[in-house]
């Protein structure tokens, strides 16, 4: 009986303890905080989960940490059974977005929780590790054109829209990337089109955080120069290659994501892909004008901008023959690479040498600074000397005209010196050099071109045409065929007396001398037939021909030629050139045939 009483007492005590414990639990809520991940980069978010259990499951108060933004994403309610007791739980999911890099301590929500540590690294763009946090502010959105997915924007800022060829214009290129939406920068900004040139962009861009349309953005800014190369109206468009993260979730989840939040939820569900794109800025219309020809001074070297000049001399006193250094300082802003000056060229009692120049930039772009020209000068005569004023001409794009600025003349006292009698240098540029051969007194023959005759187009065209004609004639001659060439070769085999007789016949035919022609023709035939019949040429008479030759074919023609020769010799009639040509060919043919 005692044992049963004891057991009942133990059960009662246990029940009582459970009730006490349960009531204690119900009275004081328990918080459990987790942070995942504990290390992120700028542009990413971490997830803070606060789980409260107990009777009083209120929404926890958000911590306040400078540099971190807390935003409740969702709240999940549930029930847990602990030691037989039913406890209500509520889990609050909070998105933690860093505004700056650093190590942050998130204070505990209650005494039962532990403080959490969040490490935030600089952004991981393009391998850049330098992060200079700027002052977060609101960026005006008037001229910003977001990309389609609102992940980034590019814009170009320029002070001036009307510029001139050769002028250098400072511009700022801004790339704004939304936190978590852009994963990397894949290259430097480039210009679309070839009408403008962009200066070096190798320097790191300025970085700062800003807010655009209520969203945190990282803003990268490049400061550089552009230079138009030809006149006209050109759009200034900048492209920047970046990698963005796109969601691949179903439409339903994507809508939920749009309602709940952005990259944080995307990573939570882990459904994103990366895509390389080019972020393109809106066109900034530039009007590029040509430098006016009217009013352009001959000494203008192409400098465009705003400049001032001063000058000084290395010493106010010197001995004749001692070198002095004359300096001209050109300060201001513009295209300093086109700032040039010959300084003093020819000054009486002075020898001057070509100046050298150096440039010291006062900004990172080389747009502002000072260019110094140094010119060695030597006084050749003693006494008070004056170096004349120096001048520099540039084009002022604001005033839209050429400006010439001048310095004041410089006075130098030159004392006599032994060196004064002996020139220190025999420079060809001094204007007093000797050794030149004397000038010509007559101008000589004039030509209308410096290009050699044989390289002038018209000459080459005519020579080419004639060469083509020559080649055509030569090929036509070759195309006469083996028979033609054979006849030619056989003709070359004729005795010299025969070839001479044929040539003279041709001459007589050209002059229309029929008597001489037929005499030569008959003689040529006599010699040909004499060879054929093995007799003397003088024995070949008309009677001999009548006896030996047929009365048709070539025999008939030979008889006719002999008879015609007699007729012409006695009658002296005029012969037509066609007949003479025909007889020439006949005699030539007979001569060639006689060879065979």
């Amino acid at each position: 009986m005692k044992t049963r009483h004891v057991d009942c007492g133990r059960l009662l005590a246990t029940f009582t303890a459970c009730l006490v414990a349960a009531s204690a639990l119900a009275a004081a809520p328990v918080f459990n905080e987790t942070l995942s991940p504990s290390q992120i980069s700028i542009g990413e978010s971490a997830e803070l989960r606060i789980k409260s259990s107990g009777a009083d499951t209120q929404r926890p108060k958000l911590p306040v940490v400078p540099g971190l933004e807390f935003r409740v994403v969702e709240q999940l309610q549930g029930v847990e059974l602990i030691h037989g007791a039913t406890l209500a739980t509520m889990t609050t999911v909070i998105r933690v977005t860093p505004q700056i890099a650093g190590t942050f301590v998130i204070p505990e929500i209650s005494s039962t929780a532990q403080p959490l540590i969040l490490r935030v690294n600089p952004a991981s763009f393009g391998g850049s590790s330098i992060m200079r946090p700027g002052i977060a502010g609101e960026t005006p959105t008037g001229d910003i054109r977001m990309m389609e997915d609102d992940s980034a924007f590019v814009r170009v800022l320029a002070d001036r829209r009307e510029v001139y060829v050769g002028e250098t214009v400072p511009i700022a290129i801004e790339l704004g990337v939304r936190a978590g939406a852009v994963s990397s920068l894949n290259g430097l900004p480039t210009l679309a089109g070839s009408d403008l040139t962009l200066n070096d962009l190798s320097r790191q861009p300025d970085r700062k955080e800003t807010v655009v349309n209520g969203e945190p953005f990282l803003l990268l800014t490049w400061h550089t120069l552009i230079a138009p190369v030809k006149p006209g109206d050109f759009p200034l468009i900048v492209e920047i290659p970046i990698t963005i993260q796109l969601s691949t979730k179903p439409r339903r989840e994507a809508l939920l994501e749009e309602q709940l939040g952005d990259p944080f939820m995307q990573r939570r569900f882990g459904k994103t892909v990366r895509k390389n794109i080019k972020a393109v800025s809106p066109a900034l219309d530039l009007t590029v004008g040509a430098l006016p020809l009217e009013g352009r001074p001959p000494e203008f070297s192409g400098a465009v901008g705003s400049f001032q000049i001063t000058s000084d001399i290395s010493s106010g006193t010197a001995a004749a023959g001692d070198p002095l250094t004359l300096k001209m300082h050109v300060t201001g802003s513009g295209n300093f690479d086109r700032v040039d000056s010959a300084m003093l060229v020819h000054v009486e009692h002075w020898k001057s040498y070509p100046p050298t120049s150096s440039f010291k930039s006062s900004d990172a772009l080389g747009f502002k600074g000072e260019k110094t020209f140094e010119q060695p000068v030597i006084a050749s005569a003693a006494g008070p000397q004056v170096l004349p004023a120096l001048s520099f001409t540039y084009f002022d794009p604001d005033a839209r005209r050429y400006e010439t600025v001048r310095t004041s003349p410089l006075s130098v006292v030159i004392s006599a010196s032994a060196a004064d009698a002996a020139p220190t240098a025999s420079s060809a540029t001094s204007g007093t050099s000797t050794g030149l051969r004397p000038d010509r007194s007559t101008p000589g023959v004039f030509a209308n071109s410096l290009v050699p005759l044989y390289l002038r187009p018209s000459f080459l065209a005519i020579e080419s045409l004639l060469t083509a004609v020559l080649a055509g004639a030569w090929f036509r001659q070759r195309a006469a065929g083996p028979a033609g060439r054979g006849a030619l070769l056989r003709e070359r085999g004729l005795p010299r007396s025969m070839r001479l007789a044929l040539t003279r016949m041709e001459e007589a035919a050209r002059t229309g001398d029929g008597v001489r022609f037929f005499a030569l023709a008959r003689r040529a035939l006599q010699e040909t037939l004499a060879v054929r019949w093995q007799v003397s040429a003088d024995q070949i008479t008309s009677a001999e021909v009548d006896v030996r030759l047929d009365r048709d074919g070539d025999g008939l023609e030979i008889r006719r030629l002999f008879a015609r020769a007699d007729e012409v010799a006695y009658a002296g009639e005029a012969i037509r050139s066609e007949e003479l040509t025909r007889w020439t060919e006949f005699v030539r043919r007979q001569a060639v045939a006689g060879l065979s």
Binding site: G166, T168, T197, N199, D200, L225, A227, V229, K230, G302, N335, D337, R338, D340, V345, H346, S352, P354, P355, T356, S357, S427, T429, G431, R437, D439, R440, T442, P443, V445, F446, A447, N448, S449, L450, V451, P452, L453, Y454, L455, R456, S458, F459, A461, I462, L465, L466, T467, L470, A473, W474, Q477, L488, E491, R492, L494, R499, L500, L502, T503
Partner: protein
């Protein structure tokens, strides 16, 4: 008929030699004269403008390559500026003694000799050795003309720096630092042009872009 063709061909050659050539883009009034260019070069030397002096000497040398005065003043000026002398190749020195105009006429005569040798093949009265000799002589004369042209070709694409110091850039844009600087009166070879900049190659083989106003081509461009 044949005589008429020959006369026509000869007339065309003479027209091309004498009057067919187009004048340069900006010839001075009356044209170019080697003596006038030489005097101009001397004047620029006295005025302290060595770049323009060398330019005019080079132009005078194009018209009169065998002029000893032009050669002497050019050598003197380049030596005083510490610029390398324009030695030229052995072939250019060999053919340089002949005026380009004379070399052109050599080419015309050579062409005529070759034409006569080829077309007289039908004539039975002309001995073979005469035709061969004429052909060889014609080829030699034309070869001389071609050699003269080859020797002068680089000079026709040369420019002289007239600015005190001409910065040479890596790209045809007035931006960034210069690769190197050309001295005044230095001769460079023009390899291209783009938007006011000229691609040049120096005697040392370095290339880069120079602003067009810093140099002047020896032969004016059209």
């Amino acid at each position: 008929m044949k005589a008429r063709c020959v006369l026509t061909a000869l007339g065309l050659v003479l027209w091309g030699c004498a009057g067919g050539a187009q004048p340069d883009a900006q010839p001075p009034p009356g044209g170019w004269s080697s003596a006038a260019l030489y005097n101009l070069g001397n004047a620029y030397v006295r005025a302290g403008k060595p770049g323009l002096a060398v330019l005019n000497y080079e132009r005078a040398r194009l018209l009169a390559p065998d002029d000893p005065d032009v050669e002497a003043n050019l050598i003197l000026l380049r030596r005083s500026l510490a610029l390398p002398a324009d030695s030229g190749s052995r072939m250019s020195r060999a053919v340089g003694v002949l005026s380009p105009t004379l070399a052109a006429w050599f080419g015309v005569v050579g062409w005529a000799l070759i034409a006569a040798a080829l077309l007289s093949g039908r004539s039975p009265t002309l001995p073979q050795w005469v035709r061969r000799t004429a052909g060889i002589a014609g080829a030699v004369l034309i070869g001389f003309t071609v050699a003269s042209g080859a020797a002068l070709w680089p000079k026709l694409h040369e420019a002289i720096v007239i600015a005190g110091a001409a910065p040479v850039r890596v790209s045809p844009a007035p931006l960034g630092d210069a690769l190197f600087t050309l001295k005044e009166a230095e001769a460079v070879t023009i390899a291209g042009e783009h938007e006011g900049f000229v691609l040049v190659r120096t005697a040392a083989g370095r290339t880069g872009w120079v602003w067009h106003a810093d140099l002047v081509p020896v032969v004016p461009r059209r």
